[in-house]
């Protein structure tokens, strides 16, 4: 029993209307380093926040969670000071709480359903999840005893080691399957490693989650490109796998298709972030991989990836960092918290503007971008008001680097090399609600199925597919 148990009496709920604030590095300090922005709740703040939970019998928050975390139950344990117990409760359904507590869009999921959000701010569920996961990692993980489950003699291959692949691998390993993850990069973790920056999700945390899976017996083969080094059919025929889960993500970057995109200094967000995060270009020349960023950087797009790129550019020393987005502030698809963080750190938002061409110097280096003003017309099929060009509004912005962050689609390598695997016109693998594809014993989930979405949705898909694979293989001889 934790030492503080008993010192705290759980009285009636804390009816304060606002969340305990998240301690953060000062904006003008953090925009010069890659250390984590949010530093996390103290135990006192966590207990105080946990007491704001009313423990509603209908648990609306749980319905908002793609992996069904037992939210009121874990929060009640936090309120009692039983942080280890709270971790065990979260872990019943979520394999990556330290990750989810940091990068989930709680405001549109669990917290959007919280009853406390009607009159004031919802309970800080994400902050509590993070606190519990961090507490456990720092105080309990070392003494954790993992019991490897009894092998059931069946083999499953997982393609891709991002959130979806890690989830499916963890769930199946715990059921006794012999699971191997194949990863194209040299490091496991997928978008958690190459995409999301260190200052939002420290890589040591991701590494620890990956290492934990290994303790459950999951094997991870890096430097294997499924579709090149080995084909899906060979996984069955030559390697003897009973099922394959494809979670290869949405890695193919979209470009704007405008003049000058070939100039030096124009990047996809994927390239820019991979250089910075996976290859650690922010530590060049200690690390060999460079990244050119210059003094003025424009990021095109308004999603979370765009915010990550802009905030990284600021930290690399760019004085002027712009987000150029063709709709208005209300339409920005990024999380409100990411937008606020970017603004605090000095990123300037050029809203209702759209690039028309990049302008280079005689040596092929980017020096400016021409943009036009936009205005919002009638709603389009997505329900958002369609941006329209304001005639004659062309003007230029001087920039040294441009980062295109307008979306990614699934990589065609697996589609092109796997007979009988149906995909849709956007290149996404077609899978039913359980993750089953058109090919027997091939399942798929995460961004490879949905197109670029969130970490937690990818994890939810992995969770469902693990169950479906288990059901299918139990009946297979």
């Amino acid at each position: 029993m934790p030492y503080w148990k008993g010192e705290i009496t759980v009285a009636k709920a804390n009816m304060r209307n606002d969340k305990n604030p998240m301690p953060e590095q000062e904006p003008n300090v953090r925009n010069k380093n890659f250390l984590e922005v949010a530093t996390g709740y103290t135990a006192e703040a966590a207990i105080d926040e946990a007491k704001r939970c009313l423990n509603c019998p209908r648990k609306p928050c749980v319905n908002g969670c793609p992996v069904g975390v037992k939210i009121p139950e874990f929060i009640a344990l936090v309120a009692e000071g039983d942080f280890e117990g709270a971790y065990a409760k979260i872990s019943e359904t979520n394999a990556l709480p330290a990750v989810c507590g940091r990068v989930c869009p709680q405001e549109s999921q669990c917290e959007s359903k919280c009853v406390r959000g009607i009159k004031g701010e919802p309970v800080g569920i994400g902050r509590l999840e993070r606190f519990v996961a961090d507490y456990y990692r720092e105080n309990c993980a070392a003494k954790e005893e993992i019991v490897k489950p009894e092998p059931n003699g069946k083999k499953v291959a997982v393609v891709g080691s991002g959130p979806s692949g890690l989830t499916v691998a963890g769930d199946l390993a715990k059921l006794g399957y012999d699971v191997t993850i194949y990863e194209a990069f040299h490091t496991a973790g997928g978008v958690l490693m190459y995409g999301i920056p260190e200052f939002r999700l420290p890589k040591a945390i991701v590494q620890q989650e990956v290492d934990k899976l290994r303790k459950y017996g999951v094997k991870i083969e890096t430097n294997v490109v499924v579709g090149k080094t080995i084909l899906v059919d060979e996984l069955f025929e030559e390697m003897g796998y009973d099922a394959v889960y494809v979670a290869s993500g949405a890695g193919l970057p979209s470009f704007l298709g405008i003049e000058g995109e070939q100039l030096n200094g124009v990047y996809s967000a994927n390239e820019f972030l991979t250089r910075v995060n996976l290859m650690k270009a922010y530590r060049f020349p200690e690390y060999d991989t460079p990244v050119y960023c210059g003094n003025s950087v424009a990021v095109f797009g308004g999603g979370n990836v765009a915010m990550d790129a802009a905030r990284s550019a600021k930290r690399l020393g760019a004085e002027n960092v712009y987000i150029v987005y063709r709709r208005g502030k209300e339409e920005l698809p990024a999380r409100a918290e990411e937008v606020a963080h970017a603004e605090e750190e000095g990123v300037k938002f050029l809203l209702l503007q759209n690039p028309t061409k990049f302008i280079g110097d005689e040596n092929g280096w980017l020096k400016a971008v021409e943009v036009v003003d936009m205005e919002l017309g009638e709603p389009d099929e997505s329900g958002r008001r369609r941006p329209q060009v304001v005639a004659g509004s062309e003007h230029t912005i001087e920039i040294d680097a441009a980062i295109i962050s307008i979306g990614q689609s699934p990589n065609p390598l697996i589609k092109n090399t796997t007979k009988g695997l149906e995909t849709n016109k956007r290149g996404c693998i077609v899978a039913d609600e359980k993750g089953a594809t058109s090919k027997p014993f091939v399942y798929a989930g995460g961004d490879a199925v949905t197109g670029a979405a969130t970490v937690i949705l990818a994890m939810g898909a992995g969770k469902t597919a693990a169950q479906a694979i288990h059901e299918a293989l139990q009946n297979k001889n």
Binding site: A184, F185, H186, T222, N223, V224, V225, K228, T229, I230, G251, L252, P253, F255, E261, Q262, L263, N264, G265, Y267, S268, N270, E271, T274, R275, M279, F284, P285, E286, Y287, D288, T289, P290, Y292, N363, G364, W365, N411, P412, L413
Partner: protein, 280 residues
């Protein structure tokens, strides 16, 4: 897991060969494809075209010119050492089936990449004329291998020190003017050389394939750093290539993009000697 260097040979003062143990890559490798390696935790991911492969032994051969940080670091490694990461085979194999008479052109280090193409063509029964060019006689590489992989081998040197002065384009022109009819020309080497070959073959109406080697990170279509303008459209060298129709490449754009990290490369090489926290 690390990948052991099975063999290292010096081919000329700047160029060396390394055969690296990577059975999964060797099993699938075809001419025209490439690998990406990373020497250690601090290293860059750098692409190298596959120069040869031994499916039985599991070895994949790359031929390297020590010009930048990674290639200089690689030059310091010997047989028995290993590299941390080695992934492939990446890219689309060069389509060689059905070709009857082909001119394979290699410029300098490009000869190392032209060699597996010539070898495969020969094994498929095609008549191969190989034309390779070097700065001087001291820089000639793979002479025996190219002799074995071709029906006719023309070795040219810029300074004439091997007794055959000229550029590969001069030698190709002589062949074409002599009435040689090639189904295809495959040209591999520095961008200016490939561009010059393409300009020539365009006049003679001979289809020409070139192998592009731009900056890239993942090699699987993820970063888009390797984009090349082909027929007015951006293509990714890593997944759409690295081979393209040389008559459709935007050479100006490709040559400018190659300069992207030149200044960083200098800094990286200069700083390479004293690196805080670096293991070796």
């Amino acid at each position: 897991m690390a990948y052991e260097i099975l063999r290292k040979e010096t081919l000329n003062p700047q160029i060396f060969l390394m055969e690296i143990l990577a059975p999964a890559v060797a099993k699938k490798a075809e001419p025209g494809q490439f690998i990406i390696l990373r020497i250690d935790e601090f290293g860059e991911r750098v692409p190298f075209t596959i120069a040869d492969y031994d499916r039985e032994k599991g070895g994949v051969t790359i031929i390297v010119q020590a010009v930048g940080k990674t290639t200089q670091d690689l030059a310091k490694l010997e047989a028995g050492d290993s590299v941390l990461d080695f992934v492939g085979p990446l890219g689309v194999p060069t389509p060689l089936e059905g070709l009857k008479k082909v001119a394979v052109i290699g410029g300098g280090l490009g000869t190392a990449i032209a060699y597996p193409q010539a070898k495969k063509l020969k094994s498929l029964g095609a008549e191969v004329t190989a034309i390779v060019g070097f700065r001087s006689v001291d820089f000639i590489i793979l002479n025996d291998e190219m002799t074995a992989a071709s029906d006719k081998l023309i070795v040219a040197t810029d300074d004439g020190s091997n007794g055959n002065k000229g550029f590969v384009t001069d030698k190709l022109k002589e062949e074409l003017d002599a009435g040689e009819k090639f189904d295809e020309v495959i040209a591999i080497g520095p961008l200016p050389m490939m561009r010059a070959v393409c300009k020539l073959t365009e006049q003679y109406g001979v289809p020409t394939t070139v192998s592009m080697n731009p900056v890239m990170i993942d090699g699987t279509g993820m970063c888009g750093g390797c984009r090349v303008i082909v027929d007015g459209q951006p293509k990714f060298a890593c997944v759409d290539g690295p081979d393209f129709d040389g008559h459709k490449i935007d050479w100006d754009a490709a040559m400018k993009r190659q300069q992207m990290y030149k200044s960083h490369e200098k800094q990286s090489c200069a700083d390479g000697k004293c690196r805080i926290g670096r293991g070796k």
